[in-house]
């Protein structure tokens, strides 16, 4: 009888133990966290960069990414690097003076070099373009909170989208307009620029860009350059060559409204929609069936919400190419093809 009771209580203790173990495990589980080894591998491949700045609200720090065992550091080109005493500090506190190897102000990237061997690094050959929804690890020295041998901060998030960068800083357009990663971790903070975005295997997929606002939504962007796209450019910079990124080339003989024979309403307000005021007689637009009061909605499949955007987009088309317009007339959309020659 006594023995049986003991056995019961033992069973209860055992049951409680199992319950706790199981509960703890599932708790970790429910968080869908990141394996510590993955986080550590990201952290030791990043450096804290200190340079000029430190006054008037300008921070004197940013982040850099080790991309070779020999101490090549990828980072963003910024005023922080505008110093002959750029310091790069590894995760373990080793501190180096970094040299600027090369930079490209248009893509806003720079490659630094520190004098060291056998460093852990991200292999650019393993960089891929992720899908939206892919989970990511973000490592950066945001707000400069990590100093000395402190590892950089790590965030988790997902890829919101990959999309061409349409961004501005104040009134100035950001020159880089190639595809970037939009992430749902908050990366637009001081010091985060130059930080790494990796996938769940720990492969580098992006480098956090400098703070910028989205021109489409007027919101701060959390974005990162796609390292797979920048890889050739980065290699060129390491080799001492500069390969500026190809920008939209202007044709020698651009298309224009007057060539098409279109007069739009006066561009008075800040964002005037492209309403047709008049179609010039015996000109291509008239022949194609465009009429006064039509609203031009699309040019070659792209929305043109304002006169300014229509004019800008026309200037990128050669006058020899046909122009496809979607117009709105009496609430209906119509497609017109106009050829100048």
């Amino acid at each position: 009888m006594n023995a049986l009771r003991l056995s019961w209580s033992r069973q209860f203790i055992l049951a409680a133990c199992i319950f706790c173990t199981n509960w703890l495990a599932t708790f970790v589980h429910a968080q869908v966290g990141l394996p510590p080894s993955l986080v550590a591998n990201v952290q030791k491949r990043l450096v804290k960069i200190n340079g000029s700045g430190g006054m008037q609200g300008l921070e004197s720090y940013q982040t850099g990414i080790l991309i070779s065992a020999d101490g090549h550091v990828l980072t963003v080109w910024s005023y922080v690097l505008d110093s002959d005493r750029i310091k790069a500090t590894l995760h373990d506190g080793r501190r180096y003076t970094a040299k600027i190897l090369n930079y490209d102000p248009r893509s806003e990237i720079a490659v630094l070099k520190i004098d060291e061997k056998d460093l852990p690094f991200f292999d650019l050959n393993k960089s891929r373009v992720p899908d939206a929804g892919a989970m990511i690890v973000v490592g950066s020295n945001l707000f400069g909170v990590a100093t000395g041998d402190e590892p950089v901060s790590v965030m988790r998030g997902v890829v919101q989208a990959t999309t061409p960068l349409r961004a501005r800083r104040g009134q100035f357009e950001v020159p880089y307009q190639d595809e970037v990663l939009i992430v749902d971790a908050i990366t637009n903070n001081p010091g985060a620029a130059g930080g790494a975005v990796t996938d769940l295997e720990g492969n580098l997929i992006g480098m956090i860009g400098k703070e910028a606002e989205c021109r489409l939504t007027d919101t701060w962007l959390n974005y990162a350059f796609l390292t797979s796209k920048l890889a050739p450019e980065i290699r060129a910079l390491i080799d001492g060559k500069s390969r500026p990124i190809a920008k939209g080339r202007r044709p020698d003989e651009p298309m224009s409204l007057s060539l098409l024979g279109i007069q739009l309403v006066t561009n008075v307000v800040h964002r005037t929609p492209p309403f047709v005021d008049r179609v010039v007689a015996e000109q291509p637009a008239e022949a194609a069936g465009l009429r006064a009061d039509d609203l031009i909605v699309e040019l070659n499949g792209e929305i043109v919400p304002t006169i300014d955007e229509l004019v800008a987009k026309l200037s990128l088309i050669s006058r020899d190419s046909p122009v496809r317009l979607t117009i709105q007339r009496n609430g209906e959309f119509k497609s017109l093809q106009i050829r100048v020659r």
């Binding site: 069973q11 173990t21 495990a25 599932t26 869908v32 929804g133 964002r271 005037t272 919400p305």
Partner: protein
Amino acid sequence: MNKAMPQMKPLARQSLLTAVRQTRMHCVGLFYLVFSLATVTVCGQTLPDSTASFEAAIKSAVATAAPSLVQLEVVAADNTAAKADLASGPRTAVIVAPEGLAVTASVNIPENYTSIAVRLGDGSLVPATLIGHDESCRLALLEFTASNLPIAIAVPKSEIKVGQTAIAIGKSFSHDKPTVSVGIVSALNRFWGRAIQSDAKISPRNYGGALIDLDGRVFGVLLPLGEQSEVDTDSGTEWYDSGIGFAIPMADVMDRLDKWRNERNLKAGKVGLSFRKSTSIPAQAVVEGSSPGSPAATAGIKSGERVTGVDGQSIKSLNDFKFAMGSRYAGDRVKFTLEDDKKNSRSLEIELVGELPKYLPAGLGIIPSRGDGKGLVIDFVMPGSPAESVGLQAGDTLVSFNNEPVESWDQLRVAIRSLLPDTEVTVGWRTASGEGRKREVKLARQSASFVDLPLRDTTSSPTIAVEQMPEFANRYWLVQNGNADTPRPLLVWLLPPGASTEEQIAAQWKELEQHSAIVIAVESAKKDRWLPDDVEAVLRALGEVTRKLRIDSNRVAIGGADSSGEVASLMAAANRDRFQGLILVNSPLSDRLRDFVSAPEIPLAVLFASSANFSGRDEVSINQKNLFDAGISVGSVDLLNNDARTIEAKILRWLESIDRL
């Protein structure tokens, strides 16, 4: 694919409990060991893998839901509103009918749009028309020509739980590949039962898009929501990407889709009740009054009745009432259960309206006596007022209103607030010589004109003390005249930005010698201008003084001169429950101000004081007219160069009278 991964915890716990029960029965101790090893091993193995499977689940959910989203293109000329550029890029809408109906956030449709189009999954652009807005939930319904569109599947509301994974998707960057942000359901029933809250990143990138679950079903339509949800469609946009975002439950949208389509514009249903301020926690839904002409007034809901039920649902607090009414629409018939102070219960069915009749304050034209004296003694009768026309005089005592005895000024105030100007009422009073009178009279539109009240005999000169609030850079000076036993009027005076000395402030308010008011003169934190952050400091100063001194809660005003006046107008408009008076010296209203609303429970009297060389008179006269038309009481004083009295003297005199009845 392992969608169940994050939900494994309860399952595992349950199987364990079952196992414990079974084994207890069979007394097979070894089983525990095997079982425990098994579960730990399983968890140990799946740990590194779980994140990856979670990622796969997210992608699968997004792929499932994505076809029911369309990209939205709106062409609009610039409107000068600050957030106009919000409308410049593509937005998102959620398909709700296969033949071409989609719902988006109202913020995506600027008022002055010229063209709306949706880009379908195959890239084709289709013109769309706006059917109308759901003004309560700030959503817009769009119609376009299409067929066999995949429609979103709504998650039944009962299945939505706080903590569930929630994915925010939108199509602002691409018509086929949605943007993705992952979070959880943070809360339910926000904004009086209207919205789901999530910590996924919600911004113009996905406003109008969907918050979905791991099965790809739609929790709700994403949108910004803020405090003034009925006024500004863009309030709440300042919280974008900050971990607090909202979605209107898809199940609710689908439930009222037919009604929305038929009625085109849905308005929040209003009944027109105001409730007594209560110190009990939770506050009770005890009726103070009903807005004149409102469904509540027509149905005869009386002051003092308590709302105990709405459509059979028990109402135990004012919050219960707000939740019960939060998602009602104009035209809804609602059964209210009311209980009077003798616990008699009755039920009324009332049809809600979208707009309450504009409230115009009415009055008799009397100023109540101060102090805790016996009876409702009249202190002053306004010249040309209804009171004067029936022969009421200062010193008379009011005894009845509409043949009901009146015992307090508050009771009379509530009674008059439920009536409109030109309403015939009966007033009974006792003259100073003890003679009883009763007359019929028509109420007039309440005025806030300047009246020369008789001055008080006071002996003590005003004192001034400076206060530094712990958490703010702003200081304030408390200027008052001795200690009064009766509640006193209070003026919050916004000093001109820049250094004001104590001597200047004391000199400015020396007139307090002959007035009962308390003045709090608050400085701006910055030396050159007032900033939005100063509002908090001003309200804190007001709160500190209100706690320390006896304030007449019917006579609290805010004011300032020049640019400080404009700031005062913004603060008054944003804090109508705190301020009953607004004083603008040589200043128009701020042009950032939207319409003032008029409601019985938030009376407002505005005084414009202009000196001879004030250049903004034209603007002020337009302000006066607009305010009057909106149902606000307006008064003005002109200061001539040779005026014997200071502007402060006139302000203080006027402040004495703003609680007129």
